[in-house]
């Protein structure tokens, strides 16, 4: 029983990170119809930003999160406006390849700048945790879960309350109709991608506090983000959060099976994805579009 509770908690805490990685990916996919293979690279750029500001200026890693968000928003806006917008009407293979190319560029530029050494952010409270009936809950992971949920709530509020959020939702529903009512598609697309990148940046900042990072560490997160979005269901922020938490639980319990382990992380992710796609394509909470 104690084991079960422990796995449940580990799963939910891990799921917070997956939710954080997933919301930006789900937004870009749902609205722009782009499976953003550069998402993992955006995550890791955020992670390096946090690492850099932490080591250079000694800034507390949690305080670097807003910096990550703003910097990645600007980067994402520029990339969408300057590059991806140019092929937005092309068949999906092209957006797929384009984002893969962007990923290749980003990862290898990071490799040129930071080399492939492992980097980690270690603070005075890194090892500390809340002890609860024999189970230790690391503070950083608890905070990461909280921030992930806050970020998702903020994004959902932005989408349903603000003017640009409504414009984004209108575009997701019908691009041409949105243009007819006067929405500047180029700008709104770029804002959408920027928001997705900003979420990825915050997720990356959280990841830098939890694991050692390298320029290639973001790649597994792209596949996992895809699985999370499929698991929850495309089109709503709350569904992605549910998908993230569910995926964390599946991974925690899946890796506890004897003979399994972290080496099968991708195989488990993939197995879950195929199972969901074949049996319930709209996801746990989703509506088919």
């Amino acid at each position: 029983m104690g084991d079960f509770v422990q796995l449940l908690i580990i799963g939910l805490l891990g799921g917070g990170i997956y939710a954080a990685v997933g919301v930006g990916f789900g937004l870009v996919w749902g609205v722009l119809n782009i499976v953003n293979l550069a998402h993992g690279a955006l995550v890791i750029i955020g992670a390096y930003l946090t690492w850099q500001t932490f080591t250079a200026w000694g800034l507390d890693p949690f305080l670097t999160l807003p910096i990550d968000a703003v910097a990645l928003f600007v980067l994402g806006y520029a990339v969408q406006r300057g590059v991806i917008n140019r092929i937005i009407r092309a068949p999906l293979l092209f957006t797929f390849l384009l984002t893969f190319g962007l990923n290749l560029i980003a990862v290898n530029v990071l490799l040129l700048v930071f080399k492939s050494d492992f980097r980690s952010v270690t603070t005075s409270y890194s090892g500390a945790g809340l002890e609860l009936g024999g189970i230790v809950l690391p503070y950083i992971r608890l905070a990461a879960l909280g921030i992930a949920l806050l970020m998702a709530a903020a994004l959902a509020a932005l989408l349903s309350r603000s003017r640009i959020g409504l414009a984004i939702q209108a575009m997701a529903a019908d691009r041409d109709a949105a243009q007819l009512v006067g929405i500047d598609l180029r700008h709104a697309y770029a804002v959408t991608y920027g928001l997705g990148a900003a979420c990825a940046g915050v997720a990356g900042g959280l990841i830098a506090m939890i694991q050692a990072i390298t320029p290639t560490a973001g790649e597994p997160y792209t596949l996992q983000a895809f699985v999370v979005v499929i698991l929850g269901g495309l089109g709503r922020v709350s569904a992605t959060v549910v998908g993230g938490l569910a995926f964390g639980l599946i991974e925690a319990f899946g890796q506890s099976i004897p003979g399994s382990g972290s080496v099968f992380a991708n195989a488990i992710a993939f197995g879950v994805m195929v199972l969901v796609l074949v049996t319930r394509q709209q996801g746990l909470m989703g509506r088919l579009r």
Binding site: W29, R86, I87, L92, F100, I105, R186, Y189, L223, V263
Partner: protein, 359 residues
């Protein structure tokens, strides 16, 4: 787009050049080795030349095979490297563990890859668009992971992280032997594409690419067509993997399931023109030469100021990424399009392809 006299001329020049290069590639190894030494002319070939030529032929097979599912059928398969690895490990296991001779083990590589493709193709090919693309990407990643990590009573089944060593095949001229074998595989792939494009089956695939519902309505059994195309692509890719295993003598997850191959083969097909017979192979030659040049494997290397030598492979990847972005944006119908006489490289062409897809 009708070809003008000028573009027909280009067409002829291009085909002539291509044939000359091909003839050289096929015949050069024969003329060079002992003959060149005895005649005291400089060697036309060496180890490096063979390695490069064999790898190029290998990518020609993979790009041509991808074209069958990605270019003709329109299903963006992103995990074809799984078939390459399965082919490599099938021959690898049969030779290293079961002590089969190479030529007996090789035919089982395409067979194993095709069977695997049928098994995963039945659920996966029901998915459309992004779902299929990422699901197949997942297959590529997951199969490699399983092959490296599957244990049976603590013993790795497929050699684990330390990989598999194969006994060296006893051929009089190893390099030549494997070069011709790989070149033969490329020729077979191209011939199969040519046949498929002229068959009822091929028309069915193209109908699926253009409009799957309509294809089903006019009586194309879409499931059978899609799975067959997937299995055909898998078999050819597996064949390349099987040859690779014996050629390279050592296989592991890194060299049999490299995720980068997935995109390289697609980029090659795209560069050369998807849906065509020779395009993917031509794209393979083009891109492979570029990759080898950038990573410094060619005799002619590039000395850039401010760039240390060990950073060159990384820089090569950056260039590959930039190339990918530029091709996708400006020449979605392939670079070979310019030489094939269907359109000419001009500012107007680039602007038109931009306008077609941007908002």
């Amino acid at each position: 787009m009708t070809g003008t006299a000028g573009s027909r001329l280009w067409n002829r020049i291009f085909i002539g050049l291509g044939l000359a290069v091909l003839a050289y590639a096929v015949l050069a190894p024969l003329t060079s080795l002992e003959a060149a030494q005895s005649l005291n002319v400089p060697l036309l070939t060496d180890k490096l030349w063979f390695r490069l030529a064999t790898i190029t032929a290998m990518f020609a097979v993979m790009a041509t095979a991808w074209n069958i599912i990605g270019g003709l059928t329109g299903y963006a398969a992103f995990g074809n490297v799984a078939f390459f690895g399965i082919g490599a490990y099938t021959t690898g296991m049969l030779i290293a563990k079961a002590k089969w001779p190479f030529l007996l083990a090789l035919p089982l590589a395409p067979l194993a890859a095709a069977i695997f493709a049928v098994l995963i193709g039945m659920p996966l090919l029901r998915l459309r668009g992004h779902y299929f693309a990422v699901a197949s990407l997942g297959v590529g990643v997951a199969v490699g992971e399983l092959v490296q990590n599957l244990d049976y009573r603590g013993e790795p089944i497929f050699g684990g992280a330390s990989g598999l060593f194969l006994p060296i095949v006893a051929a009089p001229n190893r390099d030549l032997y494997f070069f011709y074998l790989m070149l033969g595989a490329a020729a077979v792939s191209i011939a199969i594409t040519w046949v498929v494009l002229r068959s009822r089956f091929g028309y069915g695939l193209i109908a699926i690419r253009e409009n799957e519902e309509a294809a089903a309505v006019i009586g194309v059994n879409t499931t059978v067509h899609k799975v067959a195309a997937f299995a055909l692509a898998a078999a050819l890719t597996g064949l390349a993997g099987g040859i690779f295993a014996q050629w390279n003598v050592f296989i592991d997850q890194e060299n049999s399931f490299p995720i980068a191959y997935n995109v390289e083969m697609i980029l090659m097909a795209l560069l050369g023109g998807t849906g065509t017979v020779f395009g993917p192979a031509a794209g393979a030659v083009l891109l492979q030469l570029l990759i080898q040049f950038l990573s410094g494997s060619l005799p002619i290397t590039l000395d850039l100021p401010f760039v240390p030598e060990d950073a060159m492979p990384v820089l090569a990847q950056v260039v590959l990424g930039v190339l990918l972005v530029l091709v996708v944006i400006f020449a979605p119908r392939g670079v070979i399009d310019f030489f094939g006489g269907r359109s000419r490289l001009s500012i107007a062409y680039l602007r038109r392809s931009l306008r077609e897809t941007s908002i």
